[in-house]
């Protein structure tokens, strides 16, 4: 089952756990299942206006590569998922 | 602020081998006149205060920062800009060397470097690396780290036609 690496701001939802194994064939399923175990975490991982998107500024790294499919990203049974701030290499804001 | 408008200066000069006559505000820089009045936009503005060399042109054979020359000062003078560096239909050996040595990246400083380097080659055809670096210290480049520019000037120097061998300026 996929392994989710929990970023620091979210570890208070997981009781400090840095990695958790969560079932799911897509990123969305993983997020839903995370929510079951760790209520409140979903709100940090899903855009409030668009349930298919990650919140602005957050990216999901699946097996070392950023997803371009948002929460629709399919996962392998042994996938590794990181939710990380989007790195705009060379980009700036605002 | 309210004063009678000042008449424009009437400037006659030689630009890249051709006689040119134009009107410019008396306070206008030669750089602005070249770019805005004469449509010679190859000369670039980088700082407008004489510290980057992007606007280098020659005036009576000497390199100057055209931002620090007033347009009316050009009256009666002989000017050369980047547009006058190449012979018709060809390239100056320096231009060819810049291309072959990858001596430019963004290219904004390139016209200034070429005009300055050409003046050096004409005065000191065997300048060594230190002299080239010294001569070009008034031209800033932020992309290349300078080395490829210096290599290009050395290459153009080495390849420049020997006197009498060939007409200079044809690559």
């Amino acid at each position: 089952m996929p392994t989710v690496f929990i970023a620091m701001p979210l570890r208070r939802f997981t009781g400090g756990q840095a990695t958790v194994q969560v079932p799911g064939a897509t990123l969305r399923e993983v997020v839903e299942n995370l929510e079951v175990s760790f209520p409140g975490v979903k709100a940090r991982l899903v855009d409030e206006d668009d349930p298919d998107k990650l919140p602005p500024g957050l990216s999901a790294i699946v097996d070392g590569e950023a997803t371009v499919l948002g929460l629709r990203q399919p996962l392998e049974p042994d996938s590794e998922v990181h939710f990380l701030p989007a790195i705009a290499g060379g980009a700036d804001a605002p | 602020m309210t004063q009678a408008p000042i008449a424009k200066a009437h400037v006659r000069c030689e630009l890249n081998g051709q006689p040119v006559e134009f009107l410019a505000d008396q306070h206008m820089s030669l750089l602005e006149a070249l770019r805005e009045v004469l449509d010679m936009t190859g000369t670039k503005e980088g700082c407008n205060d004489g510290n980057c060399g992007a606007c280098t042109v020659t005036m009576d054979g000497r390199i100057v920062d055209s931002c620090l020359v007033l347009a009316p000062e050009a009256d009666g003078r002989r000017l050369e800009t980047i547009e006058g560096v190449a012979p018709p239909g060809g390239l100056h050996p320096l231009q060819q060397a810049f291309l072959e040595e990858a001596a430019l990246q963004c290219g904004i400083c390139t016209p200034g470097f070429l005009v300055a380097a050409k003046a050096l080659l004409e005065r000191e055809p065997a300048a060594d690396e230190h002299r080239i670096r010294h001569w070009l210290a008034g031209n800033l480049c932020r992309c290349t780290g300078y080395d490829k520019i210096v290599r290009a000037v050395l290459r153009a120097e080495a390849e420049q036609p020997k006197p009498r061998a060939r007409r200079s300026g044809t690559a």
């Binding site: 701001p9 980009a91 | 503005e45 990246q105 480049c141 932020r142 210096v150």
Partner: protein
Amino acid sequence: MTSKTEPKRKFRVVGTRPIRHDGWDKVLGRAAYGADVKLPGLVHGAVLRSPHAHARIVKIDTAKAEKAPGVLAVMTAADMPVAASQVLDLGEEVTNATYASDRVMARAKAVYNGHPVAAVAAVDLNTALEALTLIDVVYEVLTPVVTIEQAMAPGAPLVHDDLVGDDIGERVEHTNVAEHIRYEVGDPEAGFAEASTIVELECRLSRAHQGYIEPQTATAFWSQDGKLTVWTSTQASFGQRDALAGVLMRPVSSIKVVPMEIGGGFGGKIGIYLEPLAAVLSRKCGRPVKLVMERRAVFDATGPAPGGIVRVKMGVDDKGLITAATADIRYGAGAYPGAQINPASVCVFASYRIANARVDGYDIVINLSKTSAYRAPGAPQATFATETVVDEICRRIGMDPAEFRLLNASKEGDRRVDGPAFPRIGNVEVVEAIKGSAHYRSKLGPASSPAKKRGRGMASGFWQGIGGKSTVTISVNNDGVVSLIEGSVDIGGTRASIAMQAAEVLGIAAEDVHPSVVDTDSIGHTDLTAGSRTTYATGAAAIKAAEQVVEEMKNRAALAWETDAGNVRFEDGVFSNAVAKGQRLTFKELSGKLGATGGQISTTGVVNLRGSGGGSFAAHLVDVEVDTETGKVEILRYTAAQDAGKAVHPAYVEGQMEGGAVQGIGWALNEEYVVGDDGVMQNASFLDYRMPTTLDVPTIETIIVEVPNERHPFGVRGIGETGIVPPMPAISNALRDALGVRLTELPMKPGRIMAALKAQAAS
């Protein structure tokens, strides 16, 4: 010099050094940059800027300026739509639209010196400049927040009353700390307990400007039909279109951005500055309006790299293995959040395998212009601390700095501090390249006079880069030459590096690909020219488009030969029929037959690459000579090794490495923002900002290392940025070697070196 690490596929075009396609225009002075735009009816504008770093705008009276002869339009923030405080997701950047709008023209408060407060369009530039003096602005001057310490002090004045900070997921109100992030792996405290040697340094970093020679420019024409066209020197034509749409509250499709040639960017020409102002002025006066920034404003009011304070602590065991490391990174973002603390945090320890690490990053707003990306944004400052700490550790434990780096190098499969594991990377290989260099094996030699001392220093660096979306269109002409249309603006030779990748696939010469960079209406979405992505990602799109061309041309050959497409082979630019000897057509010959086999071929390659493929590592070695009586530093010799994956055009790879190293030398020795308590930059000119001249740097010796990138068909890695990361610590390490003192503050200018020598003598 290129160090090969393994046998690779044979390339015909990739790896050669053709003359770049846009070179002729650039050496002849014909290339049109932003300021060179000429349009019918064009008028000129000028911008009035706040002389105060922090001031409430009580009143702006533009009546006199509006009536001045020759003035066509005057604007203030009142002429801009009130952008909702929504989050703008601009693909590569996420920003608050209110801040994005406020940054380009102050509404209620000027929050940095040079903040635009009004703009004028007039018949000529001087008339516009003179009209600025007729605008009365009443300011209520507020106390500026200039330093990190001031910003974080209890009861500090607030740059933004409404800023809500994020402290590792917790909301914080009334703060100047926009964000505090943390990454943690393993147990740092336990790791330090295992260490036999621990070194900790606090480094202070200066703000540093990209220093592109071409100032920002923008020309806009807002037509009566609602269409806005903007000609500008930008690294991100699509990004600018989207940002303009957000700030002007217009549909993206009503805006066309035409990217002009760009006179250097280095990250500083991604965001919008003058574009919305030119647009609004144009709307008001009905004519195209051109704005060119003055050099002083470029320093005052565009985004340099952030300065800040970085503390790094590292422990090693008695074998020299790193047991733990922590970093505390505090960057001054300028007047709006976004100081690149995240890439800084990712990069700070990237060169090392560290099981126990913690990184804290703080994004802090202060009353200076908002910082922007600058070549490997965030990484050089943080890495300065890491690499100087590593050097101190090597000295304490008596280990060769290259050996230490090889022993502790991050490799494929090792995890970065933010979690993901590295794919195949060239970290070890670049250190080995330095170790094997003639420079490394050379003797330092005696100093040139008794007052001078010599030293040598080494440092590593990393930049991750990005992937992203690129579109390339290829059309085959009947003479065998192809035109290649791309959306990636070309700052340093990428027309060539992209065309060469297409040529490689097509089996034709680089010169037979004619690349053009076009506007946002003329090509599919293409992300910015930044993040070391252009040769990598747009190159991948070009390869894809070229492969489609080859496939389609195989079909055409099959048609011509009345054979099955499966029988057509394509090799070295020649199509041949596997089942009919003698049936062969060169690319050029077949191009001439396209009209009769279904018409000319055009293809489009679109990629959206999910990352850079591991990034590019570098190691640099530098020899310095210091005049101990004046503190002046001469760079005697400099060698840079970097992993390019596969160097498409080696001369331009060297050019990126050389340029990055020289920018780093400038940042190391002299470049800085000297800012007074009033928040005003005192050295805002090329004279006093002191970028290196030709006489200040030696030849930069380059070693291109090629560890193929598994995510690119040819193994290409983005290489534009890493080169600026190692120079500053390498020079600090060399100075430590020469003088026995550790310089921890940038720039390491003569006065600072002398002060350090005096402190050393006193102790």
